[in-house]
Symmetry: C2
Subunit: 441 residues, 2 copies
């Protein structure tokens, strides 16, 4: 009998494989960070003996959630301003707050608070765009979280760089620094087509191509942006992207609220990836992305929360519920975005969006052990007719009991093992005092 | 110094009074079920000495949520069928499951499970419509919850009555039985205009008038119902209601997705009340109620979850988030349904909808002590710039620590004091086994 690191024993397991297998009395065998076997508890027990066993009775075992779009450090601005016109919100609150406060310290502690919140609601991988991303990488390492992160690039200066060239150089340094890290992955991230010159967009693409990494950016978040870009380019934004050679399988566009039929065809033909952020799109009144049509066209759609200034949480279980319901009412069709489709968007489809589907997103032999265990013995999850339904329509982030990332237990029975929660909250509260003062100036 | 039953000490308090007061370092003094004083901790400490003190440091003290529309016992059908066409869902799942399974036992245990879930997410009062409502009353008494409940009335037989006359008689008996109860209140509840004959509607109205109780029913839940009723009556449903004398301050209409400008004017002129159920309206693809217009017209709008077959939870914090975001995206206006408006809908406006605003809905001297205490020392609630924003956009039902109803502590530090959770879940699981079997027939 083989001795291995860890066995998770005796729960229901949603594998999120191509057959959408749900196993009763399942066990997952883990060694050296990898899932080495998934199967019925008796079979696993016959083959393996583990140094540590986690009993997952009355629990659901599944892959951790993949949050496809965050601005992690913006936890520091959570709830600073809501319910405002977009330009009022940006120009009078978010931009001044950022310009006066974002530094390495805020980036690190804000990102670590985000990691805390994400682990506690079952997210094991996040894709981040913000400023001083090396600090976000450091926070993810501390937390033991997997991530794909990029420094936001635009034409104007940021708190981290004076010129776009400096931003590109910082990104290149990030790629080289974290190249061999098991958890940290780097993406090149020009902010958007309305904040980056064509020259910057092209340089960013070259950088991504040189290192064979993903290229992510905000795209067509609302009708005003669509109009502005059409006027700027004399053609649709997606046609422009095609012309500058952007459309490929490593391209990841966030939001995509205003995609046309033709845009979708181009995305599908080129294997482009997208991230859907329904709560942010609702809260900022951006509109409803044509996700059912995107799925029908064969486009990979991951799910993301966006940042804490525009959501205001990083809870993928809330996001699944929002995604499932929004499209039903928008189309007056209760059959679109069924629970299973949405759970897949939050796991394996998200992994595909980040080009990580060979590593994460399902409970399958050979994948990394990014696994969450959710307690089912709760009044709001009783009775249990259908696991997917509960995940999307009844569950809460607080139901997540235990989280493993890369085979390491980062939360056990709701106790975080990698992060000092109280310290992180205290640091962010101190930062928030300064943020508040800065807005009074 | 006066000796009293209980003081809640040292938290932030959202009073939900007409000035939207938020007190720092607040205390609430409670005696014989009533709030006898609310004020700064030092002032309360000078005046009162309590038999029991609850320390609410790092917490938010506020009135409990009022859930304006539930079908409590339908917890037994939570997740039995989702993502289906309305008529497929009703005719092939919900109606057969109900016809074959609803009895007193299901009504009691299903309602008690609902009460468990509601208390654990901060709801202190619910307005219920279902079958065997005397069992729901009994469950609410067990749980120590406040409620306004009514037996659903329609022309066809129910598991509880063969004729509408029997349903009316059952309702009258409920009113008389629970007349002097401090927690249980009865409402007369014809199901809807498409399931009740005008004769039944008129008898129901007479009954409500005789006892001076509220009259509640589903109204204009989707466009198909609107069309059907217009064809049936040769006029709008609300005009018909006016003709039969329905429009008054004790009328409470659930859903109201398809209200016209003229309907809203009539409702406002007559002081009619409404219950808004955004999650259910989204999940069933019913449409978006014109709530911002209803509020502008001066109509009282409470918030409700609807039943667990169409939501699938009873969490008012989730419902607030949904309400705030849905209308923003539906109108492409981020300023509608701001967080404060939504929190008021879930508390004092809900109390008004149930004609209970003199008793509950705010933390004010003389009102019943229906109070919740929410822990703020959580990563997803850090930092704290604005309490209303966190309630609507960041919080989770699981953040509710302690719940008082009518001055009695029903949950303390997440431990239920009136209900044996494990027993309730076990009973409902046994019922669910039968429900599942019944659908295989």
């Amino acid at each position: 009998m083989q001795e291995i690191d860890l066995i998770i024993n005796g729960g229901k397991a949603l594998l999120i494989d191509s057959e959408n297998t749900c196993l009763d009395r399942a066990s997952v065998a883990i060694n050296a960070g990898d899932i080495i076997a998934v199967g019925h508890t008796e079979n696993i027990a016959k083959q393996y003996h583990a140094k540590k066993n986690i009993i997952a009775k009355d629990s659901l075992i599944m892959p951790g959630f993949v949050n496809c779009h965050t601005h992690a450090a913006m936890t520091c601005f959570r709830g600073i301003a809501d319910d405002l016109e977009l330009m009022d919100w940006l120009n009078n609150y978010i931009f001044p707050a950022e310009a006066r406060n974002v530094n390495k310290e805020l980036a690190y502690w804000g990102s670590l608070l985000a990691a805390t919140e994400m682990i506690k609601s079952g997210t094991t991988t996040f894709c981040d765009m913000y400023i001083f991303e090396d600090e976000t990488a450091r926070a993810a390492k501390t937390a033991g979280m997997r991530c794909l992160i990029g420094e936001v690039l635009f034409d104007f200066p940021s708190p981290n760089f004076k010129t776009p060239e400096e931003g590109l150089a910082y990104t290149r340094a990030l790629i080289e620094k974290w190249e061999d890290d098991p958890l940290i992955n780097i993406i090149v991230e020009p902010h958007a087509l309305y904040t980056c010159s064509p020259a910057l967009l092209i340089e960013a693409k070259k950088l991504a191509d040189n290192y064979n990494v993903s290229l992510g950016f905000h795209l067509l978040e609302n009708a005003a942006e669509k109009k502005q870009l059409e006027e700027k380019f004399g053609k649709s934004a997606v046609s422009f992207l095609k012309d500058i050679g952007y459309l490929n399988e490593r391209m990841l566009a966030f939001h995509c609220v205003c995609l046309s039929e033709e845009d979708m065809r181009l995305f599908a033909d080129h294997g482009c990836k997208t991230g859907h952020n329904p709560a942010s799109n609702m809260k900022l009144a951006s509109g409803v992305a044509p996700v059912p049509d995107m799925l029908k066209a064969g486009i990979t759609v991951g799910l993301g929360t966006d940042g804490c200034a525009s959501n205001n949480n990083l809870d993928m279980i809330k996001e699944m519920s929002t995604a499932a319901k929004l499209h039903k009412v928008a189309r007056l069709d209760p059959t679109v975005m069924d629970a299973r489709t949405v759970v897949r968007m939050a796991t394996i489809e998200g992994a595909k969006a980040l080009c990580m589907e060979k590593t994460i997103g399902s409970l399958e032999e050979g994948k990394k052990a990014d696994i969450i265990i959710i307690g089912l013995n709760e009044p709001h999850l009783t009775p249990l007719y259908n696991e997917y339904s509960h995940l999307v329509y009844a569950m809460s982030g607080a139901d997540v009991d235990t989280v493993l990332i890369n085979g390491k237990i980062v939360m056990e029975n709701r106790k975080l093992l990698t992060i000092n929660e109280e310290e992180v909250m205290q640091k962010v509260r101190e930062i928030a005092v300064k943020v508040k003062q800065s807005l009074r100036k």
